[in-house]
């Protein structure tokens, strides 16, 4: 019996090795030596399977679009760009494995990691290895804290929390506010913490706070009933759009119609397949990206994304796209070449990022501080007739 199991395990192992070998030989371009010298190798990791797959896939798809555009237009400083994306299931352990796999491949700079928790684990490796990293969407302050070569393209959580509180106190100071957030999620809890602190100092009236976890993210009727009973007329939802869509439809079913206020994670709700956009009527959110924006850059990107993947890109996709172009701008400004070592590239990129200003899908005149945090302006939008309208 024991021998027998060992035997079968060996078979499984051989199978998987054979599988690896097979697919490696089918993609010779990735490992051939002569090409390696003449291309920039950018890598990224994020969840493309599991619960958070949507975020990783959005970044992967958008980065690939940006890389293809750059390559078609002659590359960076005349060198083509290779892009490789590895799955990390939004898990720290797998993310470190994915990062190591990319380093084996010869990655020169990292676009990542997509999710906060995994990114913190990778960021300490990145710091040790002196690899430049720019995350599209890991918004926790712990991602960049104490690491000079780790940069964020998205807002850090505290910015969103305090930004929301400041906006509310300026525009709806008398509102009775309820907060419903996910307390086993770093993103949601992080925004909530700064929001509540800021709200208290601004004199906002928070009447109810309800939480949920990944395991109880199906039924929100209790939290909504309690919020209604507490008299809340403004419900702040620092959560992603998937649970938010459930909250909106359950509130509608019970006839509770406060103003809902979201943050950048709420973006994507209108393009969610099957979602009744009338439920989101009047929802306000702070977001750096809107797929309905009229500028040329956004329109082209959205059209290309829809052509390739049949869906409207969300803000993760936009962040990923911007990351590649920000990297391109910095590499060009520093006259980098692919034969530079990873450390040299890292130093050159740090110097560029802390001094340059970048215009992209998610904002204009973005600049970075030495702490790696981006500074850009979020815009408050309100949903009217199924589209974003800039709120006054």
């Amino acid at each position: 019996m024991k021998k027998f199991i060992a035997l079968v395990m060996v078979v499984a192992m051989v199978m998987s090795m054979a599988a690896c070998g097979a697919s490696e030989s089918s993609a010779p371009a990735a490992s051939s030596g002569d090409a390696a010298a003449a291309t920039f190798k950018l890598g990224s990791t994020g969840p493309i399977t599991g619960d958070a797959a949507i975020y990783g896939q959005a970044v992967m798809n958008a980065c690939q679009i940006a890389v293809d555009e750059i390559n078609a237009a002659g590359g960076i400083n005349g060198y083509q760009v290779e892009f490789k994306f590895e799955d990390d299931v939004a898990d720290g352990e797998t993310a470190v494995n994915a990062y190591n796999t990319l380093m084996d491949w010869g990655m020169q700079a990292l676009i990542g990691t997509v999710t906060s928790g995994a990114c913190i684990s990778v960021s300490s490796k990145v710091y040790e290895d002196r690899v430049f990293a720019l995350t599209p969407s890991a918004s926790s302050t712990d991602v960049t804290a104490g690491k000079d070569n780790m940069f964020q393209l998205c807002f850090a959580d505290p910015n969103q929390g305090s930004g929301s509180a400041v906006y509310m106190s300026a525009n709806m100071a008398d509102a009775k506010i309820a907060v419903i957030y996910r307390n086993d999620d770093a993103y949601s809890q992080g925004i909530r913490d700064t929001f509540v602190t800021e709200a208290a100092s601004l004199g906002l009236d928070v009447v109810y706070e309800g939480t949920f976890t990944a395991d109880t993210a199906t039924d929100f009727s209790v939290q909504l009933t309690a919020a209604q009973a507490a008299g809340a007329d403004l419900v702040f939802l620092p959560i992603y759009y998937q649970p938010a869509s459930v909250i909106l439809s359950q509130a509608d079913a019970m006839g509770y119609a406060p103003t809902f206020f979201g943050v950048d994670g709420m973006d994507g709700i209108l393009t969610m397949e099957g979602f009744d956009a009338s439920l989101a009527e009047g929802v306000m959110l702070l977001t750096p990206f809107s797929a309905d924006a009229e500028d040329e850059l956004t329109k082209n990107f959205v059209a290309e994304y829809q052509k390739r993947h049949g869906e409207t890109p969300n803000q993760f996709a936009a962040d990923g796209y911007d990351c590649i172009y920000a990297m391109k701008q910095a590499l060009e400004a520093a006259n980098c070449t692919p034969d530079m070592s990873v450390e040299e590239l890292c130093d050159a990129l740090i110097a560029q990022f802390t001094s340059m200003s970048f215009n992209g899908l998610t904002g204009t005149d973005m600049t970075w501080g030495t702490n790696g945090e981006v500074s850009k302006m979020p815009t408050a939008v309100v949903i009217e007739n199924g589209v974003y309208v800039t709120a006054e």
Binding site: I48, T49, G50, D51, A53, I54, G56, Q57, N183, G210, T211, F212, T213, A214, D215, T216, T218, D219, S221, V222, Q223, T225, A226, A229, Q242, P243, S245, V246, S249, Q250, A253, M254, G255, M272, E273, G274, F275, D276, E311
Partner: protein, 292 residues
Amino acid sequence: MEFLSYLISGISLGSVYAIIALGYTMVYGIAKMLNFAHGDVIMVGGYISLTAMLSMNLPPIVAVLLAMVVCTVLGVIIEGLAYKPLRSAPSLAVLITAIGVSYFLQNSALLVWGANPKSYTPVIEGAMKIFDGKLSISYISLLTMASCIVIMIVLTLFINKTQLGKAMRACSEDKGAAMLMGINVNRTISVTFAIGSALAAIAGVLLCSSYTSLMPTTGSMPGIKAFTAAVFGGIGSIPGAFLGGILLGIIESMAKAYISTQLANSIVFAVLILTLLIRPAGLLGKYVPEKV
């Protein structure tokens, strides 16, 4: 008034758990295996009905029937390919295979329907207002509760009154003896899986209609909760699964409302542990006399 509202949302949530738990408990009672893939069959049922309604524009009732047919076929295929060859294997081996099937279904769904969560269009919309509109009960909650009761009654009658139901009870008592009595044990187990999977499809539609979002991992947590409900009520017992599901839903709702939304799940599990310590075979479990 809030209390009533919490109670109703608890019963509604509990009804969904109960329908899933009924499927769990039937399969367990007869095949003596924990079918961890059950939750994922629910997810498939949700996706099939949604695709039918959105892409093919079929009326909800046809979509539900289609989902039931697809899930039944899926259940029978899974049983035939993955579980049947392991009939005489240790139960842990079957458990691990079920987990493999669960991963397989989740990842297949990811490839077929994509990672983006989809918003589910409820099969019926609207709500009933009572007490001058102070209390509103959505029609989908009413439908869920009604379906749950109907399914429980039909299943009980089926198990107790029909030939096939008797065969199932015989298999669950003693497979060897049942075989000697001329019962086709393999076929009986397949039929059980078919029924369980059809129930999963209904549960999928109701779950997604109440909690309007669907993604490849949608089924796993309700699956675990329903498993908990089945054990809570006494696994293998049909009224037990019903009772366990409803109670679990109410406890979860009340815990969220009056104790802590943070620890709602922990409270549910703590109640389960306490119950099992007092009644080690669950509320209506086999080894406990039926005098409750």
